[in-house]
Subunit: 298 residues, 2 copies
């Protein structure tokens, strides 16, 4: 099944009626399921998660973007989170048999449509980026709405779709493709925060550990346990099992056991199947071996 | 999603047109997907596998049974495999959110219908058995068609549904519920068949090992590897991971590694999810955390 997750961020975290109006657009598209609506008052921003078949999801993203451009004015928007548009960012995430390349293609088509039909300039980012310096969203968004308004005419700020002038109220939007994020935490059988921090340092990419892993050592106050708290930013590069096993081994070196682990929120099925296949050393496995994969979807 | 697998066995493995006519009945029920048709000439028997929602699967099983009763005459049937009916056995297997209890209920309703509408006496077996001595299919089928014809009037051979006389051509049918079978093999990095046999002995239930595990030591001729070949008859009692890890540890005691493992044929998704959850020690996991679980099924 070709399935896409879309996690658009809109620059509104305080007016429930605006958030509801935007989310209603996604819910109105047949075949789209809204999984989560997560507004943040301080950030003045809402993160919406929906899934479905690619064309339906893209249509839902477009309609949400159009509604946000009608209801949100960046000139009067304030919040702690950096932002450049009423619809700030639209990432597509491949699930099931959908490929990253198909998500990049989807991002291109949606970006073009937003620019053409809504007059909002669009930057392609992450896996959809056409220029290496646009892979990182923070670089694309540098200067935010106000700064981009003043610099968009410069060659290096030229949007990928649309004219080189910002939408007067809806700003600019980044559209892209990325792997799913997985929030994965491992709880150590100790209250030694230093140990969690030192293990986090060993496993995270930024300090020489596993690729595509971000990690911090934190305390779980209620349980008085030290935790290695992670964002797995591309489970196809580094899966959950090798990181879990490394943490277990590092903890064992310090004479500490593992209490358990937590998967926070959603993750794609394949990330768990990968763990099972690796844990059992299955030599050749095909998704069609899963009984439920043969259920007719309609 | 409530999903059932059904794996009926029919007493025909030689006449393709009869097999096709029976399978066509299952394919004709909307929502039923036929996954496998596996005829055996020597056994003169065919094993058919289909899945779908419970009512659709039960309807498909009924129609197949009716067609088999029209086309197969047990009086002239010969084959190596023991058999008592044109439709010999109909097991329901719970998948997804379906429970064993619901499968037992489904077996009861189908058994009643077969007896009433087709005049075929039905025995409930395995998890659907109403008498402990009918749990084991081999006991239910003792004497086969010819023997049951002569003894069905005895109290202990009384069918669970239908009158105490065999159908003159279609015999009797066993309807039941059971967990899914998983064929799971672990390949040792050695040609030492004795080691595989001794490990099989340690892990199988019949010689004091894991509950619900059957195991043999065999040689993989082509690869010249010794293999522990298993049937996991109830993965909810003993999952794949503890058995794999035990085999790995027993092999290591003999200085032998694991080359890899094989899952032969189909298995339910939950069996793999259990492996992943155990391998990562996930403390609390809910199926709704899997992104794809939220896809609308229609």
């Amino acid at each position: 099944m070709r399935v896409v997750e879309c996690v658009p961020n809109f620059s509104e975290g305080r007016r429930p009626e605006v958030i509801e109006a935007i989310v209603a657009e996604a819910k109105g598209v047949p075949g789209v399921t809204v999984l989560d609506v997560n507004p943040d008052h301080d950030h003045n921003r809402v993160v919406v998660t929906f899934i479905g078949e690619p064309e339906a999801v893209s249509e839902a993203a477009f309609r949400c973007c159009r509604k946000a451009s009608e209801l949100i004015d960046l000139n009067v928007h304030q919040g702690e989170h950096p932002r450049m548009g009423a619809t700030d960012v639209i990432p597509f995430v491949p699930l099931g048999e959908m490929t990253m390349e198909e998500c990049v293609e989807l991002a291109n088509r949606l970006g073009q449509r937003i620019a053409k039909e809504l007059g909002i300039p669009v930057y392609l980012y992450e896996r959809a980026a056409r220029r290496p310096e646009r892979r990182n969203l923070a670089d694309v968004r540098r200067g935010e709405f106000e700064g981009i308004r003043d610099t968009i005419h410069l060659p290096e700020r030229q949007p990928d779709f649309g004219e080189a002038r910002i939408h007067p109220t809806a700003g600019a939007t980044a559209v892209g493709a990325r792997p799913p994020l997985i929030a994965f935490n491992v709880n150590l059988d100790t209250d030694d925060l230093k140990l969690a921090k030192s293990i986090a340092k060993k496993v995270r990419e930024s300090t020489g550990g596993f690729k595509a892993v971000k990690a911090l050592g934190v305390m779980l106050g209620e349980r008085n346990l030290a935790q290695v708290s992670m964002n797995m930013v591309d489970y196809t590069v580094t899966g959950l099992l090798p990181v879990y096993e490394a943490i277990k081994a590092y903890a064992a070196e310090a004479g500490v056991g593992i209490v358990g682990s937590e998967i926070v929120g959603l993750l794609p099925l394949q990330a768990l199947l990968d763990v099972a296949i690796q844990a059992l050393q299955v030599e050749a496995f095909d998704l069609s071996q899963i009984l439920e994969s043969h259920l007719r979807s309609e």
